[in-house]
Symmetry: C2
Subunit: 345 residues, 2 copies
Amino acid sequence: MEASFDTEESFDDPSCLSPQSPGSTSPARRHNKEKEIKETKTTINGVTFPLPMTMPEQELLKPSEWSYCDYFWADRKDPQGGACIPGFEVLLQKQLKGKQMQKEMAEFIRERIKIEEEYAKNLSKLSQSPLAAQEEGTLGDAWAQLKKSLADEAEVHLKFSSKLQCEVEKPLLTFRGDNFKKDMKKYDHHIADLRKQLLTRYAAVEKARKALADRQKDLEVKTQQLEIKLSNKTEEDIKKARRKSTQAGDDLMRCVDLYNQNQSKWFEEMVTTSLELERLEVERVEMIQQHLRQYTTLRHETDMFNQSTLEPVDQLLQSVDPAKDRELWVQEHKTGEFRPVDLDI
Amino acid sequence: MEASFDTEESFDDPSCLSPQSPGSTSPARRHNKEKEIKETKTTINGVTFPLPMTMPEQELLKPSEWSYCDYFWADRKDPQGGACIPGFEVLLQKQLKGKQMQKEMAEFIRERIKIEEEYAKNLSKLSQSPLAAQEEGTLGDAWAQLKKSLADEAEVHLKFSSKLQCEVEKPLLTFRGDNFKKDMKKYDHHIADLRKQLLTRYAAVEKARKALADRQKDLEVKTQQLEIKLSNKTEEDIKKARRKSTQAGDDLMRCVDLYNQNQSKWFEEMVTTSLELERLEVERVEMIQQHLRQYTTLRHETDMFNQSTLEPVDQLLQSVDPAKDRELWVQEHKTGEFRPVDLDI
């Protein structure tokens, strides 16, 4: 993490110990004014960001990749509630939504399976219909095959639904089972804990800052009082005040250090974890693409198999022969070939 | 109709007037025996056929064609009832059954249409499902198209069912409407009437035969009586008896003529009408063949159109790009690019 220094002087420089009075343009006041003008950072919800106008050159960690690790540092204000959602939460929600999408796609495939099974059942039943079963000969054969072809079609659609189930629905359902949600929860808690710590550490920094300001003011007042001999404060008191001021400065430095360490830790976890989530999302999209392609492959197959159920029907229809059928029927049903002759007297 | 003569002598030949007595082997008796041995025809249900053993060469009217007009001359005994069904009835029943087959085939197609409509309805409904509608980017587009393809498939199946209805079901139903049954009834009645007449005429022949036999016997008896001077019958009585005998012979000839004319008429109608039924049956078989081929053509088409609904899906699945999707999503949902910086004292 890059360091950024502002122009504030160190606490130990006695030249900053100058009296402050309203309206004066003492060096100290001018110095404070300059400090306000040169404010370059801001801490929001415990996280410290550079201010835009004084933004140092921050190159993206992964330029041109629209990587998660580059775009989710700040919290997002919820427009309605006013509550803040950390950028990481947004990434997590995307993951959970992705899992939900998987599930819904599997459900859709399940519905398709049901439709195919219903269709197959109906075709199969109709195939067994006795309608026109009494048709005989080559026409009867063609008709019987036409009826049978419905059973063959039913078979094709059942096979389709069966493959849909194991090659599309099941993978979509079982990809990343229950462990996924647990993993997401772990990431969630881990990152949230680091943020909580950061807030705590920042509060400590603020407290230390205030304590330092109090100590400094006390020292200032006591020094002024000594100069105008306002009280019977001794050098001893001023040394004590100065010691307390120095201690407060040390405390502040320690607090800021701890804060920065914490923030660094959070930063690293953010980069690592968001890149993991990014990888998981790529994996999810590719998995879904693969299985939806499997869906279309199965559909293509099905239409082709369906076509082939017509071949025997086409052949038999080609062979329909009214003369042949007449021969078969006449042979079976003829009543007599002898033609009548005149009666004789 | 070919004439066939047996070896019976004419009635006017006085040499057949010979006494008949049991046991004698008079020329007359020998003549009668010869007559029995040379019986070459038989009349069944009013129709006269040659007997098989003395069958003259009867060539088929339409050789090698298994034509209706060659095979339905005799009546068929109903094995269960014992009643007789004329050969023509068998042909008529085949026609009516053919019409029934048409109707049943149309019904089958109707059932297929219902199945297709149900399938289309289900696909269409599922196509509008909001499942995974929140998927975005290139993956979302591919998914949306996949869902839409179900609506396209539904459209294909609706078109199929619609064409089935007008190109297959309707023609099968309406081919030979109600007039057909009326025509069949007309043929039925016409031929049946000719048969009834034939029976009547044959009964008349039998009656005339008996009358002649009676007259001949009477003449014979009277002649014998004259020879042995048994009675006081005069020549006058014999002349009367002979005249009556001659008249009975003439009556018989007339009855036989009328019978033969009737039979000829029936024969002609049988040939004409059975050939018409034969033609109608060829037409029916060809019509059905044509429309069942239309069915398979529509099925082939449907499978092809169904395949084409996948093209846009395949294309969009090809274009699925996790990096692109990340870019789109990050652009929309990013919370902040500024990375955190150290807090300063």
